[in-house]
Structures are given as structure tokens and as C-alpha cells.
């Protein structure tokens, strides 16, 4: 029962983040949407650990991996944003269309 509620919370966070990642024009705001999606994954992983297999610590290790993926995404994303801005003055997703086929 509680597992369902936690999973619904995770789905809501992921959906809100997905909306932001798809709809925002600013590249920095797109990254905020991605962060929110990863927050949903964190809630879901923690709920699975607590409600399904709390005796093994493997779920906690998965959470650590997700947390570090979050920071890596942030650091690499900002580096790319700065490089994009320096090369082509692009701070919006529609302006970074070099790879459009």
C-alpha cells in the first residue's frame, strides 16, 4: 500500500521533470528538469529497498550510484553549456542546432 504511494510520488516527480526537460527553452532549465527526473528515480529506488528487500544493502548502493550520476550530469552539463555559449553564443536549445541532420 505505502509502496504504491511512494511509486506514485516518484512517477509524479519524473513526469514533472520530463515536462520541464521537453518544454524549457533555456539549456540550464532543461538540466533542472533532468535533475527532477533523477529525484523521482531516487524516491523509487529507496521505496523498493525499504518495501521489498531491506535486509540487503544493495539498494542503498544503487542509491549512491544514482546520487553520483546526478552530480556528474550537473558538472558535465554545465561545462557543455559554457562551451556552447562561448563558441556560438547559444543559451537556448533552439540556438544549438549544429547537429540537426
Amino acid at each position: 500500500m505505502m509502496l504504491h504511494l511512494f511509486l506514485l510520488l516518484a512517477a509524479a516527480l519524473l513526469a514533472v521533470g520530463l515536462f520541464g526537460a521537453l518544454s524549457q527553452q533555456s539549456i540550464v532549465m532543461v538540466m533542472m528538469g533532468l535533475e527532477l527526473m533523477v529525484a523521482g528515480v531516487i524516491v523509487a529506488a529507496a521505496a523498493f529497498w525499504y518495501f521489498l528487500a531491506p535486509s540487503a544493502p544493495d539498494g542503498q548502493v544503487l542509491l549512491l550510484v544514482v546520487l553520483s550520476a546526478m552530480t556528474v550530469e550537473m558538472a558535465a552539463g554545465f561545462a557543455v553549456v559554457i562551451l556552447l555559449f562561448r563558441t556560438s553564443d547559444a543559451d537556448m536549445t533552439d540556438m544549438a542546432a549544429e547537429l540537426r541532420g
Partner: protein
């Protein structure tokens, strides 16, 4: 979970989702950053509620610091500084809304419909969960931590290589700019200096 626990869960869940929605609704990108920080604090609270005190506190501390740094980037890339350039920050709002609502419906249906297995084993005491995680990453799960540390180091190096002005990809930036300038002023080719005053050497020294 006790009734008080359910009430705390509900309050934190409402805060997390409402702050998450506020990120994309508020007009100012700085306010959006603080809304995201609030959302992450609520998520960390949910982890503490699930007896994951260490991971919950780490989430809160890490995300509050990250959002404090993020505010600087937000000011750098602000689209509507001080409300002087009112504009919509969205594109394809209807399509994005349809996709995200569809995703939520799909995930919610899966969460409610899947017959989840019963709990396997007992929940350890809160002090024991952190200890078990520490022993796991120093024991059987050590390859995971070794992998993470290598990835984090690679991220530091690659972020610096990409972002530092006098780094590996700096000349790409200068070449792109000078091409751009030449396109604008066709007669002013090879003026001897770049727009930033450096001597023109073709930018291919490296």
C-alpha cells in the same frame, strides 16, 4: 508505517511535487532554483522517513549546495533579468504536457497494477542501515565505489577541459567567432587582430 509516518509522507510528497511544478511555473530562474532546492529537501525527507538517514541527509546537503552554485549559473544565463524582458520560456508546451501526462499515467498504472512481491527480510534499525551500507561499499560492493570514483575524477577532468577558456577547445571557439565575424564584414578579412585583440595566427598552433 504509522499514521504519523503516513501524514509526514503526504506532506513531504505534496511539497516535493508542488515545488517541482513551481520550478517550471515561476517567472524568475533564480526562484526556480530555490524551488528545486525545496523539492530536493522534501525528497531527502522522504529518504529519512524510509530509515535511510545517511542517504537522505547526503541528498539534502548535496542538493542545497548544488542549488547554491546553480543560482550563479542562473544569473549568468537568465532569460528575463529583473523582469525587464518579459517572454515565454517555453516551447511546444502542449506536446510536452501531453507526453509528460502520458508518462505519468503509464508509470502510475504500472505501479498500481504490478503485483509487487512481499517484503523479503526485516527492516534493520536506522543505525544499522548506515552501517550495512558502509560495510557493503567497503566489502562486496567495492567495485561499484571504485567505478564511481573513477567516473567522478574523469568528470572533473573533462569538465575543466571543456570549460576552461585557455583549454583544449578554446581555439574552436575562436575559429567559430572569427568565421562569424568574417561573414558579417566581408571586406575586413585578415585585419591582423582578432576581436579580442590577440594576434592572428590562424588559431591552429596546437
Amino acid at each position: 508505517m504509522s499514521a504519523a509516518g503516513i501524514a509526514v509522507f503526504a506532506a513531504l510528497a505534496v511539497i516535493a511535487v508542488a515545488a517541482g511544478i513551481a520550478v517550471f511555473v515561476v517567472d524568475s530562474m533564480a526562484r526556480a532554483t530555490f524551488a528545486l532546492a525545496l523539492s530536493f529537501v522534501a525528497v531527502g525527507g522522504e529518504l529519512v522517513l524510509l530509515t535511510l538517514a545517511y542517504l537522505g541527509v547526503v541528498t539534502i546537503l548535496m542538493m542545497v549546495m548544488e542549488m547554491a552554485i546553480m543560482v550563479i549559473f542562473m544569473v549568468m544565463f537568465m532569460m528575463n533579468p529583473a523582469g525587464l524582458m518579459p517572454m515565454s520560456m517555453l516551447h511546444n508546451k502542449r506536446g510536452a504536457l501531453a507526453i509528460s501526462v502520458g508518462t505519468f499515467a503509464l508509470l502510475a498504472a504500472g505501479a498500481l497494477a504490478v503485483p509487487w512481491p512481499a517484503r523479503h527480510g526485516a527492516v534493520p534499525a536506522p543505525a544499522q542501515t548506515t552501517r550495512a551500507a558502509g560495510e557493503a561499499i567497503m566489502g562486496g560492493q567495492m567495485p561499484v565505489m571504485v567505478g564511481i570514483s573513477a567516473v567522478l575524477f574523469a568528470t572533473i577532468v573533462s569538465a575543466l577541459v571543456l570549460a576552461v577558456p585557455h583549454g583544449r577547445y578554446d581555439h574552436a571557439a575562436r575559429d567559430a567567432r572569427s568565421l562569424h565575424d568574417r561573414g558579417l564584414h566581408d571586406n575586413a578579412r585578415h585585419g591582423g587582430t582578432h576581436h579580442d585583440g590577440t594576434l592572428h595566427d590562424g588559431g591552429d598552433r596546437r
